[in-house]
Subunit: 337 residues, 2 copies
DNA sequence: TACTTTTGCTTAAACGTTTAAGCAAATATA
DNA sequence: TATATTTGCTTAAACGTTTAAGCAAAAGTA
């Protein structure tokens, strides 16, 4: 009852030529006559031939699949990066497999296993918040499979990386807040062990020092940057005996949570407290007040990640040099500051 | 320089047994002695053996991959459905390939081609807004590959479907608005050619009639339900000589756009106009005012879609009966109504 | 004319696994 | 003791493709 797929053999039988000739004809091999090629393609179409990807992947040792690992797809940033990766790779005949870690180290490891098992030709990833143990990523490298990190990367892993200049962006935000007259600027950051969040914290601290603002330990809080966490940490800041007049939060979702709390407490943003987020998620321009944020250039990051992968597979492995691409981010000023 | 993968043959050589025995040992075949099994597994671990998925998929004619097609991953609804599909399928040894159509019919077709080419064992999909031509979906069915639709389905395609009761949800929303004292209720719906949107429109119309409210043609608008479109259609409604006192919008993003416009025009929600969305996206509880919406049970939908697929592949093809699962959705009342 | 080269195909092996069939040895049954 | 069954493996083919090697015929060259 099950339909047999048309194979290269079927085409060969119809035309009384060898399967090898058919394969070559379909790949426009120069040693096959134009007449045969035409005939093969005609019959292929007639029989509705679809190449068996598994067979060719097995034979060629190449699956034309690229794995993508993101903390989650629901954030606009990651979703947009993915979309751009896909666009670039599709053009070159690659397809992508998207997996989500949900910020869990365990899930991330199992995702890596899954992708390796599926025989992907490369992996493009942004690390989970939890991830500190890099042995799983080393595993990818040790298999000789190209690994490209973006956004959430790690300096210790000697791999290609595409991201924005977090330090500068952070510095820029603080300068912006100062220009608005803020004197006590707090920072709800991500966890320091993640490089990008560490850089944002460094940028914040250095800018504070540079402009001789109070560098109060209470004003710097590390967090998981979820919405709930944004609320919570904001509450902590408000409870200080000397609360801040501006809060820079290293993630838009957490900024949203914080804004929610401020509104509930009838604290006026930006008049009582200025607020700045990070990531330029679409909702930042939709809430009231709109939230000042940093545009991370998701489109470019996706495209560059894909192109870096393509370089890796195309180029001579010997003369490859590590790509560390750092883009300049843009501050998008809105009503919250 | 390239590292050779460990194969079943390598293990066989070490132990001086046949590759077949190794394969069976790894699969706990009853005809292999416990001693041999133990030895095989020990050596497999020592040599860091990873089965070649392509080879086994080719041989077994089964890739253990399931394709998922969604309009976009950035909406929380789809992202959550995907996550739940993945969880259920992973437990059964399946992995998923996620693709996005971006609401484009062309992209959807190319996604289907990609997935078929990748030899997926099944496809779980939610259709793009644009899709009216179903021939590509027929193609999946004609290959004998299980196809399961969710949310955006199509009655003409005789396939499994999981969704919510759009008609009832719509009816419920209108009743809710009436209970709040609204007299002129408008509906910004999706396009009628998509079944779910048609059902929502029918629910709206029937409820309007049932409660003897004015059924003005101007009050019913079809739209693509993007944020921008929400703004635009809201503007149209406001421009009416007899504008509505309540608007029910068949998508949260469009509702957000509409809310934005209303706020800009200083129209008070809910006092001047009540607003209800659809989908219960996280931001509905975050904006001011919070938006009343419909919870679509993304978790259950994902789980059921995955389980339906598993049934399809496990069960005898002969005694299979079509699954049409319709869940009851829940109205989440918030400040906007 | 005698050779080299090119063209256009074929043959056969390979990718790594699974599995049907088979076979000898061990064990059970009568 | 003779026969049947079970156990534990092996052999070989198969999945559908690609590709190295090879070979005859055609075309080019001297």
């Amino acid at each position: 009852m099950k339909k047999k797929r048309t194979t290269i053999k079927d085409i060969a039988n119809v035309l009384n030529i060898s399967p090898a000739a058919v394969s070559k004809a379909l790949h426009d091999d120069s040693r096959i006559s134009a007449k045969t090629k035409a005939a093969v393609k005609r019959v292929a179409k007639e029989l509705n031939y679809q190449p068996n990807h598994l067979a060719s992947a097995l034979r060629k040792g190449k699956s034309n699949l690229v794995g993508v690992i993101v903390p989650r797809t629901s954030s606009n940033f990651f979703s947009s990066v993915i979309q751009n990766i896909e666009e670039v790779l599709n053009r070159e005949g690659y397809n992508i497999i998207i997996t989500q870690s949900n910020e869990s180290f365990k899930k991330e490891c199992s995702n890596i296993d899954t992708l390796l098992f599926t025989q992907v030709d490369g992996i493009i990833a942004s690390m989970a918040n939890e991830t500190v143990d890099l042995s799983y990523y080393e595993k990818i490298k040790s298999k000789g499979i190209p690994l490209i990190l973006f956004d959430r990367g790690e300096n210790d892993l000697n791999v290609d990386y595409i991201g924005i200049n977090d330090y500068d962006s952070s510095f820029m935000i603080v300068e912006h807040l100062i220009s608005k007259g803020c004197k006590r600027i707090a920072h709800i950051g991500g966890f320091r062990h993640t490089r990008i969040f560490n850089n944002r914290i460094r940028g914040y601290i250095d800018a504070i020092h540079r402009y001789n603002l109070p560098h109060d330990d209470d004003l710097l809080i590390e967090s998981s940057l979820t919405m709930e966490d944004g609320r919570l940490k904001m509450q902590e800041l408000l409870a200080l005996e000397n609360p801040p007049d501006a809060v820079y939060i290293a993630g838009d979702y957490a900024a949203l949570g914080a804004l929610q709390l401020l509104k509930e407490k009838n604290i006026d943003v930006p008049n009582d407290i200025c607020l700045v987020g990070f990531g330029n998620e679409p909702f930042t321009s939709l809430v009231t007040p709109t939230i000042t944020s940093i545009n991370q250039h998701s489109e470019q990051i996706g495209q560059l990640a894909a192109k870096t992968f393509l370089e890796r597979v195309k180029m001579d492995p010997l003369k490859q040099t590590l790509n560390k691409i750092i883009l300049d981010a843009a501050l998008i000023e809105r009503d919250s500051s």
